[in-house]
Structures are given as C-alpha cells and as structure tokens.
Amino acid sequence: MAKQTDIQISICGSAGDGTIAVGDIFKRAMARAGYRVIAFDHYPAEIRGFGKCISRTRISTNQVYSMKSYSDVLVSLNDLHAIPHVGEVRDYGAIIYDSAPMSAVAEGAHISGHLMPGHLPYALPIRELSELATGANRSRNIVALGFIAGLYQLPQQAFHQAIAAKFETKAPAVADTALAAFDSGFKSGSSTYKFDDVQIDHSRARKNGGEVRMMTGNGAIAHGCLEAGIETFFGYPITPATGIMERLAVEMPRRGGRLVQTEDEIAAISATIGAGYAGARAATATSGPGLALMAEMLGLGVMAEVPAVVFVSQRGGPSTGMPTKTEQSDLNLAVWGGHGDARRIVLAPTNVEGCRRCAARAFEMAEKFQVPVIVLIDLYLSNRYETVFLQGEDNFLPKNWQRVDSGAPGDNYRRYELTADGLSPRCVPGEAGGIYTATGLEHDEYGHPNDSPDVHSLMSEKRHEKLRDAMKYPGINFTKRFGDKGKIDVGLLAWGSTFGEALEAVLLAREEGIRCAAMKVVMMSPLPARPILRFCNDCQQVLVPELNYTGQFANLVSGELGRPVTRVSHATGAPMDINYLLTAIRNAAKQKLRNKTTTSNPTKA
C-alpha cells in the first residue's frame, strides 16, 4: 500500500543558475497539485558573485511544521557548491547531476566522486538537453526540473501552469523556451528507470477545495495586515523585515491605505504611534537593531495607552551581526526592552498561517487593550514558503473602540478612567467632547500630569492588569500541546519558528518509544503561565529549544514559573537541527531514569 507522501528536494547551484527560480516553480506546481509545501531557500550573503544558492522544498500529504533534517533528492546545478551537501541525502535517496558539466573539471571536483554507498545517482546530460531543446545552455535548471517531474510522475499540467505563471510578465518566447526545456527533461525522466525508493503517490494529494496560496511569513503578515484593514504603515528598510513593507507598498494604496518610508526607525515608530493616537490602524516593521531604536517610543505607547502594531523579524545579533541568518535573540528586547515598567503584548507565531492570523489579530488586540503589540518572528519564518489554505477565512474584526462622547465641556474628559478591567473609554481627535492631552508623564484619569504616589501606583496597576484579559483573547491559540497526553517523560516547550522542528523531533522520538510531547507558546507577553505550568507539571523533564545562546525564552519561563527548565540553545544562524534536538530528547529520557529532578544545563548558565 502506498504511504503518505513526505519528501524533501534540494536544488543546489550558483547564483545565476536559476536555482531559486526553479525551486519556486517546483513549490508552486506542487501546491497546485494539492500538496502541502514548506520551503526555505539559502542565498549567498553578497548580492553579486557566484555564491551558493539552495532551494529546499518539502512536500507532503499531511500538515508538516518544519523542514526535514535530511533530503530525499538533491539536484546539482553546480557541483562545487553541491558536493558539501551530498551528506544531507538519505540512504536510497537520489542525486541528480550533469554527466557532462560546462567545462573540464579537476579531479575530485565532479560530484560523482563524492556519492556515498547508499546514494542512487542519476547522471543526466543536462546541458546537452537544454541546448537541444532551446538552442542554449541557459535552461539547465528547467531541464532538471522536468527530469524530476518525469522521474516521479508528477502532474505535467501543474508544472506547465506554474511555468506559464512564472513568466507571465515576460515576452511569450521566454515561457515557450522554458516549456520546451521542461518537456525535454520530462521526457528524459519518464523514460528513465527509477531505482531509488523515493515515493510520491499522487493519488493521496489533496483534491480541490478552498483556495491554496503559497506565502512566506512576510507575505502572510502583509496579507493579515490587509485583511485587518491596515490604514497607515511607516517603515525603514532592514533585512529580513523589508519584504513586509515592499508588499504593503504595492497593496495598501489600492485600498486607500497610506505608506511612508521614514528617515529611521525612531521616526517610523513615532509616526505609527501618532497615527494610532489619531485613530488609524497603524503598523511598522523592523528587525532587532530597529527595535532597539524604537524602545523609548514603545514606552510612550504603553504610558499614553496608544494602539500600534510592530512586526519584528529577528536575525543574527548583536549589532549588525548576521543579517541574512536566522536567530531568536530579540525576545528579551521585545518583552522587556525599554525603560520603566512597560508591559506590552508580544505574539510569536510558529508558522506562516500563524503569521497571517497574528498580524490581523494584533490590530484588534492593540485597539482593545490600548497598547503596542509586537509580532515577533525570525528570518527563517519571514522567508520560508508554506501553503496556506484560505477556505476557512477567519473573521477579523473591523476597527472598533469604545467611542465615548463624555458631553463634558472642554478638557474634562476622563480618558484614563479607572475601570474594573483597566480599559478606559477612548476618543480620537476630531471628536467633540473627548478633548485630552496624551502624555508620557505619569497622569491622572484626565491625563493631567500627576506624580503623586497614589496615582503612580494605581496607574501602574491599571496598565498591567488591563492586559490580563489579553490571554483570553479569542481567535488565536496562545498555547497548544501536541504529542502524548497525560504524564510524559520529556516535554518540549517551544516558540516561534523553532516549534516546527521541536514537533518534528517529538514525533520521531515517539516512534522510538519515548513518551513525549511538545507545547507551542505563541504569547510571550503577558506569558500564559497557567497552561505552561500545567504542561511542565506533566513532564519529568522540560526542554526549551531555541535559536540563541543564552536561552532567552527559558529564562522568561523559569523566571515567571519559578521552575527550572533545561536549555537546548542552538545559535548557529541556521534553523534548529532536528537531530540535535532528538539527541537532547533521548538524553533527557535516559537521564530521567537516573535522576528524578530536573536541572538546568550547567554548561549554559
């Protein structure tokens, strides 16, 4: 009986080989054909030159949450770059390469000399096929794509459509050339005897039903903003968040939205807070260095109780760090960054669909709780592609706040009225009867500056307690448990993009007979301590995997819960390594037999 399809294909080449482009066609074709797709590309850090490009795509019939730790198929468009990646191909997996590369190669520089015993090679005259089909060698990438499609009997139609869509804006001849190249590869693949054990059972693919979109995390955030009816956006470009602004720059004006590229991040957050104060749905997007610049203004947003949304995509730090590598090291800054007691809401989605939902809900929450909301992701989530199914459209709420015309003359409006839930009525400029001055100074219910001890303690309490209900806000799962139920040996507490790898590792560990589960935490501030504590109490050992050196989430959790957890920190600039996590789970399961109490990892204190 055919199994569920779950394979990962890597295409490796040099910048200029069309590696990323062909990977793009592949994932879109597979999404069209009804598979769930998750893909993460590797680009060289430099804009020019012949750096290494890898396009990795995982396709499956079930929902998956991360990339796999290995690939089933590797395609080499440039042996020099592909040779170091031969090892990521599993046993009985396939390696496809050019039997006659562009130029004569030195001994050892051809990939065929580097295959391992379990690898099954397909040496193919890629360049020759390209030249025969199109009269040029430029279409090697598409020939290779056609070969894969033919070899694994993938639906040719879906690829033709994806190719046509890709070259839609170019001259018709470009698409024709690409189609010819594809078909020649397809023919070659169909007539090749397949002797690897990579199975793609097309009968299991999802048939129609609902709209499927391929989106990156950044694209999903832009999508969520538009669904929420974003009105103003102010931003300053920074990798990896720029994509959000570039997408919105195209889409917002079409819907009457207004977008301004500001002179720096301080201006971006200042204008966002100004627009929020004036009643618009306002957002900005940045990365760690920009968030550091925004810290003072976020404090004003908290103090003056102004709604605003800040999207933050983390990259390797500190300082300029590794702008094109991923890391989860701005959690401290997002949750605590700035001066004074300035509690804000921080949401950290774990996948692309979550980016869309958190983005849209962030506007609602900012309005409801009258506070800046940070949506925290990382480069890995910003740039990775996933299929998003839009059939179950969420109902995002339109702009709505408690407009209260006090009827009070002049500035007698109690904008900061102390209420049972800490939420006060809110007016915006232009409304009569609501005149007030928002300020960063401590103030009384009218907003008048007041630094008396009573006022400061009551108002501090108000600003913190009003966020208590944020943990009950509908429409987002702020925590969710996966895997074994009840008492377990090892529990993984994970956040952000790392959750996918954590779940993957848990599923693998369960196959080995280890009783384990994973919990995703989406709300970082205020931290939903109760469900997290319940989960921790079920676990003999709690592991907190994350992409940073100091274990920022582990520190946050153990601080709020008063309970030790084990850090599984991984700060390499790459997504979490599933095998590294699996080993940590195995060790924890073994350790449980020796030692019943949990301790934190002494080497990473």
Partner: protein
C-alpha cells in the same frame, strides 16, 4: 486702594472663563516662570485659531519634551506630549492618519535642533501639511539652563562653565535649504506680529516653520534677554519678496541682526496630496487624471 485679601488668579479663572476670554485655554494654568517668552505662544495660537475659526476638537498640538513642549496641557485642543525630539514624526503620523486635522508641532531649540534634528529635513522635504512652532531660547530650560545648539559661542552655562566653544546653528538657513515650503521668524516680545505669522503659517498648505525667539528669563540673564532682543531685532525689508529663495537666504545668513517676518513661501505638493496621488495611481491610470485635477482645484484657493 489695597484689598484686604490678596486676589489670586486661580480664584478668578472661572469668572474670566465665563467672559469668553479664555477660549482654547484648558483648565490647567501654565507652569512657565513669570515673564517667560512662552506665554506669547498661547496668546498667539489662541488668537490665530480664533481668527481662522478652527475648532479645538479638530486641532492637535504635538510637542516634544522641554518647557516649550508643555504647551499642549494649557490648551483646550487635542494634544500629544511625546518624547524629547520626536514631535515632528509623531505629528506626521497624526496628519497622515487624518488629513482633516489641523496639526501643530511645538518644541524648544534642544528638542528640535539637538536630539530631534534628524527629523526636520524629512518633514520639510516631504512637505507634511503641519505647522512647526520652534521656540528658541538658546538654552535647555527644563533641565535648568544647559547650553544648546543655538547658544552663542562664549555662553556660560552649568555644562559650559569655561564658555561654550561650539558655533551656533543657523536654523533659518537650514530650513530654507531643507526645502521647507514656508519659513518665518518671530519674537516673543512682539506678540501681535507673532499672532499674524502663526495665522499665516496655519493657512499655508504645506510644511510651515516658524522660528520664535523667546527669552528664558530664569536661566539666561545675559544673552537672549528681552532688553537685548528688543534692541537687536528688526523687520524684513518692506520690499522683501517671499518667493525669492536667494533673498531669503541672504537675510537668514545675516546673523548679526535677527530679522523678523516671512522669509520664504512656495506652494507645492504636500505629503497628503502625494499619498492621494499614489492611491489614485495604484487604483489605475484612469483615475490618475482625475486625482491630479482635484489637487489642482484644491490648490488654487489656498
């Protein structure tokens, strides 16, 4: 005759308010030192708003931090007392969010030309349709008298005890070269002139910058005092042409005589108009034409 009981202003406020003479004034009394030049700004803005019949609820005063920036609390309009140096970007956000509002940014010389100096060129070049009232006392008033970027060389303050050796900035020349579409200078000691300039600045469609020379009577006893300024200031020549950028720059470059009046004014596309145009372009070429004519129509009467 001396009254038996002293009369306090606080006790008279309601009476005065009823007389209608405190329109646009909030219930809070200004916290400035008696004699501070900043009182002129309340007077000036109140009179200008009254003359232009702009409602308090349609006006937003955005300020930074400093003595000057305390202003919004004393006005019965919407206000946002923000962070040191950030009045302009916050005001830009307010204006972009709601073009119908009259937005006035207010701040001191430290607020505008030290910590917030990076924002001025951008507000100017984008031609955000707001009015920026910069009250220049050549000193940090709120933090008790330190040297500022517009303090004279040689000025002695607690942080420049051996004299300030830095050269002062020339704000008017900067604003002219940044492309501000309306640049003027006023003096707190000439309140009627100030009111007229504030009024013109509010009426200008685009970014209007009004530099107001204002004595800090508490911390500056030697340099920018009423006595010194009264003697030094003069008005721009009667035949000054405010569409002549070179003439404006020549007047601004003469730092020996602080010259008051409207230096330069031009009409050009504002940020709001630019964003409307972008929206029209995004909606399709057909609508670009209509949007452009709409802007042209809107421009003429202003």
């Amino acid at each position: 005759m001396i009254p038996e009981q002293p009369v306090y202003l606080e006790d008279k406020v309601d009476e005065i308010r009823q007389s209608g003479r405190l329109a646009y004034r909030s219930t809070a009394l200004p916290t400035w030192c008696p004699g501070c030049g900043y009182y002129s700004m309340t007077e000036g803005l109140v009179n200008a708003l009254t003359e232009l019949r702009i409602k308090g609820e349609d006006t937003v005063i955005v300020s930074g931090i400093g003595c000057a920036s305390r202003f919004p609390f004393f006005m019965d309009t919407y206000g946002f007392h923000t962070l040191h140096g950030r009045a302009l970007p916050v005001a830009t956000g307010v204006k972009v969010a709601n073009d119908k509002l009259t937005v006035v940014a207010v701040g001191g010389d430290g607020d505008g030309f030290a910590i917030g100096c990076g924002h001025i060129p951008h507000a100017a070049r984008r031609n955000v349709n707001i009015t920026y009232l910069l009250f220049d006392n050549g000193i940090y008033g709120l933090t008790k008298g330190q040297v500022s970027p517009t303090s004279a060389t040689g000025f002695i303050t607690p942080t420049s005890p051996f004299q300030n050796r830095d050269a002062p900035l020339n704000p008017l020349l900067m604003l002219l070269s940044y492309g501000a579409s309306w640049v003027g200078q006023a003096y707190a000691g000439w309140p009627h002139h100030l009111t007229q300039l504030i009024r013109q600045a509010l009426e200008h469609p685009g970014f209007s910058y009004l530099h107001v020379l204002s004595p800090c009577v508490t911390f500056d006893k030697t340099d920018r005092t009423y006595q010194n300024l009264d003697l030094a200031v003069r008005e721009l020549d009667a035949d000054h042409d405010s569409s002549d950028m070179a003439a404006a720059m020549r007047a601004a470059a003469d730092t020996n005589t602080p010259t008051l009046g409207l230096y330069y004014a031009e009409k050009r596309e504002t940020l709001g108009q630019a964003l409307d145009l972008i929206a029209a372009r995004a909606a399709g070429a057909q609508r670009i034409k209509r949007a452009t004519t709409r802007h042209r129509q809107r421009k003429t009467p202003a």
